[in-house]
């Protein structure tokens, strides 16, 4: 499979022959890709294609075979799709302190996601709007200055205007701090607009390359269309 960029060796992540099975069901089969530092990689595909499982493997949360190599000692910030915070009486400050207790860092993180640090810190998470909540989650992900961010559907439950604003802010943030961003998204417009590379998964079919290349109508049809693999384990495209 083609790599994102074969010139030079500044790869922050190299994945080869990655296979993940859950309850004896193959979810990811022989996946290969590598990405450079500072890029944004979008992971797309229909439900059940293994997008979240890939994240879990990258975080070493599920057993896998094959190789996942991160370059050197890197710090990964992860924001899962589902967080149960609504029923917990917890302030924004206490939430951020679970990762980094420096109030200065908390305020800086909140400011960089477009929230007024001082005013928001003492608010309860339960009363935040969907858009504010997503911004706090992004602040939570960056508050301890990670090298890599893994985002599982960063704008789910957010209206379209806020969604664009959040992605615009993420783009600035990753460029400024040279953060490598891996994001799972169902929104193909967002993928085209805000990612450098795309990894399209559909079990036996995998596309990897520059986003406009991967997100063309033919590839989308293959990824989101009728099941195309008669037998699991067909060659990658």
């Amino acid at each position: 499979m083609a790599a994102a960029d074969n010139n030079g060796d500044n790869f922050i992540l190299q994945v080869s022959n990655l296979t993940v099975e859950i309850s004896n069901q193959p979810i990811i089969n022989n996946l290969d890709f590598k990405i450079k530092r500072g890029i944004t990689l979008a992971i797309v595909g229909p439900n059940g294609a293994g997008k979240t499982t890939l994240f879990r493997a990258l975080l070493n949360l599920v057993p896998y075979t094959g190789k996942i190599e991160w370059s050197g000692k890197i710090k990964i910030g992860y924001v899962p799709q589902i967080l149960s915070v609504r029923d917990i009486p917890i302030s924004v400050k206490e939430f951020l302190a679970l990762k980094n207790e420096s109030e200065e860092d908390m305020k800086a993180a909140l400011t960089s996601v477009g929230l007024e640090g001082e005013a928001v810190l003492e608010k309860s998470l339960a009363i935040l709007s969907g858009g504010q909540m997503r911004r706090v989650l992004i602040a939570w992900a960056i508050v301890d200055n990670p090298d890599v961010l893994l985002f599982d559907e960063p704008t789910s439950g957010v209206d379209v205007d806020s969604e664009e604003a959040i992605y615009g802010m993420l783009r600035k943030l990753t460029a400024k701090n040279e953060i490598t961003l891996l994001l799972i998204s169902h929104d193909l417009h967002i993928v085209r607009e805000y990612s450098d590379y795309a990894l399209a998964l559909n079990k036996c079919i995998v596309f990897f390359g520059e986003s406009p290349e991967v997100m063309n109508p033919e590839t989308q049809k293959l990824i989101y269309g009728e099941p195309i693999c008669k037998e699991y384990g067909e060659a990658h495209v």
Binding site: D87, P89, E94, L98, K123, S124
Partner: protein, 262 residues
């Protein structure tokens, strides 16, 4: 104030604090009834203590401890919830306990309803030490548990063993329930870990206020229940529960009035 009253108040205050603090996690974990049901598991241990002439509380704690480990292990193996597993074991423990007590109805009554008058210097000292240990260890794991509640994946990705933290938590609950039995007995001790936290949650917007209020409500319920029991010369357990419920009602009314005026 007599020494006996002083000892009982010391036990009430420290156990109430520890139970309220631990209970704040239990309510967040939506395991409110687990603490209640788990307390009944102590009954066979208490019975063995009476039958074999050793301190029944040690027997009660041993049973709670072993049950907590077994329930935790079964939870990991079967992936069944704590609630299901505790539900399955507590009625069995209750039945065995009642059988073991046999005709010794006085001892059974003491186990079920508690006997704060039996508390002496040794019991009060043990309650203080155990409560301090429980509160200190809970402080250490509080953030880990909260992160695990927000997302188990997040906690694991930060190197936290959610399973080990849960086991330690269950053991701390067992310890607290074991010493709490002296005040309210096995039937009502679950109250101490549930109601104070429920009241505190109603009026808390952040964790710090929540667990502090929960611990304070626990201590106030226990102490006022014991004082009332001295005054009316009846068992403290039901009065501890009634005091706690009174706090809960007051808190609800305050919150309701605050909503009306805001």
């Amino acid at each position: 104030m007599s020494e006996a009253v002083l000892y009982s108040l010391v036990v009430g205050a420290t156990v109430g604090l520890a139970a309220g603090y631990l209970g704040s996690i239990m309510v967040l974990e939506k395991m409110a009834l687990v603490g209640d049901a788990l307390s009944h598991v102590a009954l066979p241990g208490l019975a063995l203590g009476v039958l074999l002439n050793f301190n029944p509380l040690i027997g009660g704690f041993a049973f709670l401890f072993i049950s907590a480990v077994v329930i935790w292990y079964l939870g990991r193996v079967t992936k069944l919830s704590f609630e299901t597993l505790v539900g399955a074991t507590f009625t069995l423990a209750l039945a065995i306990g009642i059988l073991l007590f046999g005709n010794n109805l006085d001892a059974l009554e003491e186990a079920l309803f508690g006997d704060i008058t039996a508390v002496g210097l040794a019991e009060a000292g043990a309650a203080v030490v155990i409560s301090i240990v429980v509160i200190s260890l809970t402080r250490l794991i509080y953030r880990k548990i909260v992160l695990g509640l927000i997302s188990e994946e997040l906690a694991t990705s930060k190197g936290i063993s959610v399973a080990r933290t849960n086991l330690l938590y269950l053991l701390l609950v067992s310890l607290t329930v074991a010493i709490g039995i002296q005040i309210t007995g096995t039937l009502l001790v679950g109250f101490l870990v549930v109601t104070p936290a429920a009241a505190a949650k109603t009026v808390s917007a952040n964790l710090s206020r929540y667990f502090k209020l929960s611990a304070i409500f626990g201590a106030v319920s226990a102490v006022s229940g014991i004082l009332l029991s001295r005054y009316f010369n009846i068992l403290p357990g039901p009065l501890v529960v009634i005091s706690g419920i009174a706090i809960f009602v007051v808190v609800i009314v305050i919150r309701w009035r605050m909503k009306l005026t805001s």
